[in-house]
Amino acid sequence: MTADTFDITFTLNGLRKSIAVRTDAMLAEVLRENLGLLGTKVSCNEGECGACTVLIDGRTANSCIVLALEVDGCAVTTIEGVAVGGVLHPIQESFIEEGAVHCGYCTPGMILSTKALLDHNPDPTTGEVRKALEGNLCRCTGYNRILKAVSRAAEKLRPTPGAGE
């Protein structure tokens, strides 16, 4: 650690990471430039577009306006941590199946916002889905298919009635 850097330890996509970060470095920059995780997209760099959305302790955050040192001791999930063992997550499958992926630039952030929603609220109303994705801008799809994809994902993730109970 130097005057300008800070050592942090956090859980990144399930694995413990220790890294020295500049005190003024944003999380998005550290993920992309230091850790090589380019799936976190950067666009506005001012917390408005949602392309850089990651999960910090299960809650969405615009990683372009979160200081990297703030995640010391936290659990961070990026898009690279959503598909486990090369198998697509049901949310990812649903986005593909509903035609909710166009240019793909907003997609990682959209998927993480969806994950945060469904992890906490497995059966959201249409209004809750809209609200949860309000901070993620998309200029291609018109959102209609994204809303359908979230409903489909919720359905896939819901436990089958009777199973294991």
């Binding site: 506005c44 035609g99 166009h102 200029r139 959102y143």
Partner: protein, 743 residues
């Protein structure tokens, strides 16, 4: 058909949902320099002095260049005319114009260098509106345009029949002036380009829609041969026209050749607002109707406000005004359109290519005429819609669909005759556009010995799904499964020429080229089979699942390969060319391949207390000919419609009198979010296999953006009784109009 017409899942989707899809902004090349741009803080100003010493002293900064450090005369670039300098010389002409560039070993150092560069300006009066630009004593944006002493760059005129002579026969004349604001494309992926020197030329990686056009523009700017410029179009993170024409690539290419090192120019989303915008316009329209609502005449004066440099704007003005008749039978028409310079962000192609302002005007005229004549808005349109085979624009292809079918379906789906609760209204509109006339697409298809296929095309993948749809066409033609097809796209050194990924053209024009290349593969296989004595002369082979069969035998491509070449070598290369009809003396250079026609109906609710407009229901119907991939067609038209919704209700770039953009960031310039999606949204496709593309397909993509604004405006008028002639229809405007009514 096996693959065409199916909702085949997007070929690039797995990469996109896992974040592994590569965009240009993610790229790095060993030894690369980072370039950041110093931008003009005023719309129009003389550049007095530049002090770069402090910037050059920043550790990691390699050099800081202004126009004084570049060649004289300054290299210019542009697709229509080369009027844009790599860096501003002597004066800046728009807020955000590149005035200097900092090259550094890191992005951080380059950014710090920009902050430390000091440039002094002497402010000049700026031109930011059509009225400013046309004033008698208007400051001139350029010293010498094609109309010296004026900001009018070009004027285009179209006329048929006799407008003046037709006027006495009119029962009702509707005459209004409409304004359409400056709009930003708002692609999520910022502009980003990497260029590096290579073998006496330059290579460029950029998310560009038209790699071959960029190759030409860079070659002309830097005086290189076409073969010395290689453009590799990367997957585009949203374009909508903003990434069609050259932006930062000529500067990056110049810097790479000058320094002998790879150079990456990165920008932010804020920078995009000062890089590209849609043309704003003031449209004066006079439409004459007989007592039954039939159009007898139309006179249009459309003033399109370009930015400080031409980019594609003259062509947009020329091409949009060519279809100022909309989809209607207009026996007497006169249109004058002008492309006018201003001290604002250069305006370029944008979804709908100049049609939205004209469409908003014309469809509102129809709405007013319907009300004035007491005719239903659907009925008045039915009376004027041209029928299949009927002439639309004289000298061009006739109507290539039965458009009344789409209009009726759209009206049915919105529940046109259902009772409306108070405070709600319904509107319907029709959008039309032509693709790039007389255009060229080539495709190469390579069949390999293991029965897999490579399809090489100049089309760029910009989220529209070309990599999936073009593969579907090849798969259908050759019976090869989708997972055995690899698309090579947008690399000018690896694929044959294509003019552009624009104008909703690729499925039709490149689709035809791919289909024709596949047929060329089959023709060659037949020749080979005949030479091997596997089929008799004159006999045709049937393609079935990658197998060829005649009456007796069934043999695979692989059988022919192995016998004709050997087990380890050979491939069959098919070539396909599509060339639209070029017509000498035609104002646009040639004929339309098809007409892109879309119908939108909207049900809206207006809160009189706040002026807030809520869209309860929106229906999109496209006359598509044949949907190669229906799901992607529908989601494409919905995306276009939501962009149109943004234009209609909330989006506008705002300049102050010094020519400074006041809302050039996502915080201040709002686009629709999930909260703005209509409560109900549905789409439908009219498929009569009557298009010029493969399997009868027509193009789609610009679609909803052309006419969603007009449909929303009509619904708001229906709900409030007030016609809005200026977009966007903000809550403030609605509230003000309703309050004024009450007084």
């Amino acid at each position: 058909m096996n693959i065409v017409g199916k909702n085949v899942l997007r070929a690039d989707a797995a990469q996109k949902v896992t974040g592994t899809h590569e965009f240009a902004i993610d790229g790095k090349v060993p030894g690369m320099l980072w370039a950041r741009i110093v931008r003009a803080p005023l719309g129009h100003a003389r550049i007095v002095t530049a002090d770069t010493a402090a910037a050059r002293a920043v550790p990691g900064v390699v050099s800081v260049l202004t126009a004084a450090d570049l060649p004289t005369p300054m290299p210019l670039y542009g697709s229509v005319i080369a009027d844009q300098p790599l860096l501003a010389v002597g004066k800046c002409r728009y807020y955000g114009e590149p005035v200097a560039v900092v090259l550094a070993d890191s992005d951080e150092a380059a950014s710090l260098g920009v902050a430390r560069t000091r440039i002094d300006y002497e402010e000049l009066p700026a031109v930011v509106t059509v009225a400013d630009a046309l004033a008698a004593d208007a400051p001139l944006v350029h010293d010498a345009t094609t109309a010296p002493g004026s900001n009018v760059h070009k004027q285009y005129e179209y006329a048929w029949g006799d407008v003046e002579a037709a006027e006495p026969a009119c029962h009702t004349i509707v005459e209004n002036t409409y304004t359409f604001p400056m709009i930003h494309h708002f692609a999520l992926e910022p502009f980003s380009v990497i260029a590096w020197p290579e073998a006496g030329g330059v290579q460029i990686k950029s998310p560009v829609q038209h790699p071959f056009l960029l190759r030409r523009v860079v070659a002309e700017c830097l005086k290189l041969e076409l073969s010395k410029v290689r453009v590799m179009a990367t997957s585009i993170g949203g374009g909508f026209g903003s990434k069609g024409y050259a932006k930062y690539e000529p500067l990056a290419a110049y810097l790479a050749m000058r320094t002998g090192r790879p150079v990456k120019i990165s920008t932010s989303l804020d920078d995009a607002f000062v890089t590209a915008r849609r043309l704003s316009a003031t449209v004066h329209m006079k439409t004459g109707f007989d007592r039954d609502g039939r159009i007898l005449l139309q006179k249009v004066d459309a003033d399109y406000l370009m930015g400080a440099y031409a980019d594609a704007a003259p062509r947009i003005t020329q091409k949009a005004s060519y279809v100022s008749c909309g989809p209607y039978r207009i026996p007497n028409l006169k249109t004058v359109a002008r492309a006018i310079y201003s001290n604002t962000t250069p305006s370029t192609a944008a979804r709908g290519f100049g049609m939205p302002p004209l469409n908003f005007a014309l469809e509102t005229q129809m709405q007013m005429a319907a009300k004035s004549l007491g005719i239903d808005p659907v009925e008045i349109r039915l009376r004027n819609l041209v029928k299949r085979g009927e002439q639309l624009v004289p000298g061009d292809i006739p109507a290539d669909g039965e458009w009344s079918e789409g209009l009726r379906r759209c009206a049915d789906m919105i529940g046109w005759n259902d009772p409306l609760p108070p405070g709600t209204g319904r509107g319907i509109s029709i959008g039309i556009k032509n693709p790039i006339p007389g255009s060229v697409s080539n495709a190469l298809v390579k069949l390999h010995a293991d029965n897999s296929l490579t399809v090489a095309v100049g089309t760029s993948e910009m989220g529209q799904g070309a990599c999936t749809v073009l593969a579907q066409i090849a798969s259908e033609e050759l019976g090869i499964p989708m997972d055995r097809i690899t698309m090579i796209m947008g690399d000018t050194a690896a694929v044959p020429f294509d003019v552009a990924t624009a104008g909703s053209r690729s499925t039709v024009t490149m689709g035809n080229a791919v289909q024709s290349a596949c047929k060329d593969v089959v023709r060659q296989l037949e020749e080979m089979a005949k030479e091997l004595g596997l089929i008799a002369p004159g006999e045709k082979l049937q393609i079935n699942g990658g197998m060829m069969s005649d009456r007796q035998n069934s043999l695979s491509f692989n059988d022919i390969f192995t016998r004709y070449f050997s087990k380890t070598q050979g491939e069959v290369v098919g070539r396909g060319l599509y060339k639209g009809e070029v017509v000498a003396g035609h104002p646009l250079g040639g004929l339309s391949d098809f007409w892109e026609v879309i119908f939108i109906a909207v049900k809206a609710k207006v809160d009189p207390a706040t002026g807030k407009v809520s869209i309860l229901k929106m229906i999109n119907v496209s006359d598509i000919g044949k949907a190669i991939n229906p799901l992607h067609c529908k989601s494409q038209e919905e995306g276009g419609a939501m962009m149109g919704l943004g234009h209609a209700l909330m989006e506008q770039m705002i300049y102050d009198q010094k020519g400074r953009l006041r809302n050039g960031s996502p915080l201040d310039y709002r686009i629709p979010t999930t909260m703005d999606v209509p409560w109900e949204m549905d789409s439908s496709l009219v498929e009569n296999q009557d298009g010029a593309g493969p399997f009868g397909a027509k193009g789609i993509g610009e679609s909803g953006a052309i006419t969603a604004g007009a449909a929303i405006a009509a619904a708001v008028s229906d709900a409030t009784g007030v016609f809005f002639k200026d977009l966007p229809i903000t809550s403030e405007r609605v509230w003000a109009a309703l309050s004024a009514e009450k007084v």
